[in-house]
Every structure is written in structure tokens, then in C-alpha cells.
Amino acid sequence: MRDDVRVVLITGSTGGIGRVMAEVFAESGYDVALHGEEEEAEIQKTHLRGYGVEVEYFGADFRNREEVGGLVGRVEAEFGRVDVLVNNAGTQHMKSFESFEYEKWAEILEINLTSSFCLMKDVMGGMVSRGWGRIVNMSSVHGLSGSVGRAAYSASKHGLVGLTKVAGLELAGTGVTCNAICPGIVDTPLFGKMVSDVARERGESEAVVRQSWLMEKQPSGEMVKAEDVARLCLYLCGDSSCSFQGLSFPIDGGWLSQ
């Protein structure tokens, strides 16, 4: 617990974009509260502590409301406060609208959307009382546009964009900001899994599937680097970013410009 060091809670930070974010924030001198799958948390903790910051891991299954409800309190008990909340944990499931399972719909809304709402609610009071805070919600290009097969994912990511606007307006002038980031296709295990699932279904190679998606949707023809997304997030948490409020920032190789 250190007064002069900012504390960041990044959900879903043991893998994917979140893991890279944890690295970027630790490197920049933040104390880091990790959350996500537990398997490699110990190794990750040790590695990040190498930057000279405090790092702890907190498990919580976002399908369980009690666990979501307890998370911020546990982090505050350990670190004293949460200065930055990055709602990064999220899941994906692709199916045609007609075949989309109700249970999957409910799960995606719970993990991607409702959990973020709950955590935002839990951190806001403390941030406002201290006159400084940052909330960054990881939305997606699918928070601003659609693609086939993504009924629940797109609904949840659009929802996050709306939630971000409301929080931004309610926090305006308090020293606390709330914004969202909308990445396109990012080089992550989540995307890798989507590719391999579809490749298997279609009997095509993963390289072919990946390239066809990139060419179809992301004009740059390349995946966005997770580190670039992380650095955008870090930038939004800076003092000079105090006037970004309720916004959604695409980082998408041209996806939304088409």
C-alpha cells in the first residue's frame, strides 16, 4: 500500500490483451491487481514485480455475481484503493442469430457487460472522493458496428459504449474519467481460437481463415498489436487525458472508416 503510486485493477489480465496491459502498466510504475485464469498468475506476478511495483492476483468467476461483487473490496483491502479500473475481461461466441443459444446470450451479457457495470459502480465512489480516477472499458469495433454471427457479442459491446457515455457524463468534472477502447482484430489467443474454430468447421487452414477475415474487415490487412492497445489504454489514464470523457476510441486498422 503506497500513497504515491497508482493502483490499477485490470480484469482478464492473465491472458490476451489484459496480460499485455498489466505489463505496460507495471513498466510505467503502477501497482497492479491481476484478475483472470489462475494457471500462470504466479509466474506473471513474479515477472511484473521485477519492475519494482506491487502485484497481486485476485480470482473471480464473472458468471458468479457474488464473486464479481467481492472483487473491488478485496483489491482495496490489499492495496488501499483502486485508481484505475480496466474492464477488459470478455468472452466471445459466434453463431447465426436463429441458432444463438439463449444461455450463451445470457452468459456473454453477464461477463462482458453486467460485470463491468458492477465493478464501475464499486470503484466510482472511492475515485470521486479522491478527486482522481480512470475507468477504461474494453469494447470492440463491434461496439460501433455489426458483423454476422455476433448477436450477443455486438449487443454487449454496444452496451459498453452506451454505459461509458453515461458514466462519463455522471463523472464529468470530478477528476474521474470513463472511456472505452474499440479494437479491431488484435493478435490474441481469443482471436486465435475463433480462427481455429472456424477453420475446423470449414476444413480450411487457419492461415487462410485469418487472412480472409483481415482482408475483409481490416483495411490494414494486419492484426492490431496488443501492445498498441495497451499503450492507448495507458495514455487514456494519463493526467493529460483528463478531458476525454465518455468516448469510444477505435484502434482498428481502418475497419470503421469503411
Binding site: 442469430f97 464501475m120 458483423s147 454487449s156 454496444h158 454505459l163 457515455k165 453515461v166 457524463l169
Partner: protein, 258 residues
Amino acid sequence: MERRVVLVTGGTRGIGYAIARIFAESGYDVAFHGLGTPEEIEEQKALLRGNGVKVEYFAGDLLQGEEALGLVGRVEADFGKVDVLVNNAGMQYVAAFEDHELEMWDKVIAVNLTASFCTMKMAIGGMVSRGWGRILNIASVHGKVGSVHKASYVTSKHGMLGLTRVAALELAGSGVTCNAICPGWVSTPLVWAQVKKRSEERGVSLDEARESLVKEKQPSGTMLEPEEVAKLSLFLCSDEAKHFQGSALSIDGGWSAQ
């Protein structure tokens, strides 16, 4: 020629009832759903039937996923088909973020967003098989912008736009379209409840409350009539409108242009 069948949720009041009326007057058979006393509903049925079309009422608690999923099937069993689905049922909940109850969040998301997913999922198959259909999601200006104290409502309305865009892309070229309408302040019970609340909170007349509420956000300075939204809905069901696909049509007196 066989008449087209429209199912409108929340069709006993406000925008929904105006839609039921305008469509009945235009020669559609009408399946309407929503809350109301038995007397109110009998009166509405009689009025709508005065247009010489088939009209039936369907109860259904959209807070329950199973009932939302079952609604379209019940209408199809009675009418043979659903050609036009109007997801209009919606509820409002106004509370500052920190006071925004999770239980109410769940209800708003369930009625405004999940129920739309459910009805769309069940209506699509029939529409596609017949090569013609219209899905209209009555979202809100709050599907495009935020306002304070409306975390769940704004989230749900943004989510509706996500659903709309995904469905539109999956349906493109099938003869079925899916679009959203984003009204501003409309003269309905949902809005008048907010006028009344403001008049009580501020100790001003209903008239003063209405004027300040409307002028704060809607440049035109006056509320829309439900019929205006109903007429736009009717237009989107015409063959001339067949290339409106995945659009979010604002009808808001300039609100979202600001």
C-alpha cells in the same frame, strides 16, 4: 391478397399502441402484446378490429426469457405467420450510477434488450423462408447518446443497435430487413412519468416540468407524437424501404445532431 401480420410488443400504450393503430388502419392484421387491464385490452381490440382486420392480444412477461422466446410461436400458431416484428416494449429506470440497483439493471436489460434478441431469434426463420419480412427495433436517441442517471436504459438501447446491425448483415439479401428507430422525447406514459417526477422534485407545474425537460435535450422544444414514430415504422415496412438495412433512424427534433 393475403394481409401481412404485424406483432408489436408493448403495443397497449404509447408508441406501441400508435403502431398497432396505424398498421391496422393500413390493412395489417395485428398481434399486440403488452400490459393493460382486461377492460383496456378489450376496448383496444374492438377499436383496432374496426379497421376490418384480424386483431388478437397476447400477454407475456418479457422479464422471463422463456415467455419472450415463446411469444412469436404463439402468434404464428394463431395468425399463421409474423411478417413484421416490432420490438417496442421498453421500460425506463432513472437513478444515479452509484444508486443504480442491479435488480433494476437486470429488468431493464431483460425487457429492452434480451426480449428483442428472443423475438428476433424466433421470427427470423419464418420471414426468411417466405422471402419477406421487417424487423423494427424501437430503440431511442439513447441508443446513440447518453444522459445522466440512465446507465441501464442507455446501455440497453445501445445494445439494441448492436442487435440490429448484426441481424441486418445476416439478413441482407434475403428480402428481410432489420432497422432501428431512435426517437427523442415522445408524448407517452414512459416520458410523462419523468415529467411528473421532475415537477414533484422541483416543485413546479407539470407544464413547466415538461417544457424544461424537453428543451434541455430536444432542440425542437416539443415532444413527438407517437403517431410520428408509427408512420416512420410503416414506411420502413414498405417495399420502397427495402434497402434500409441495419440503419438507426433518428427522429428526435435535433437531439442527436447537437
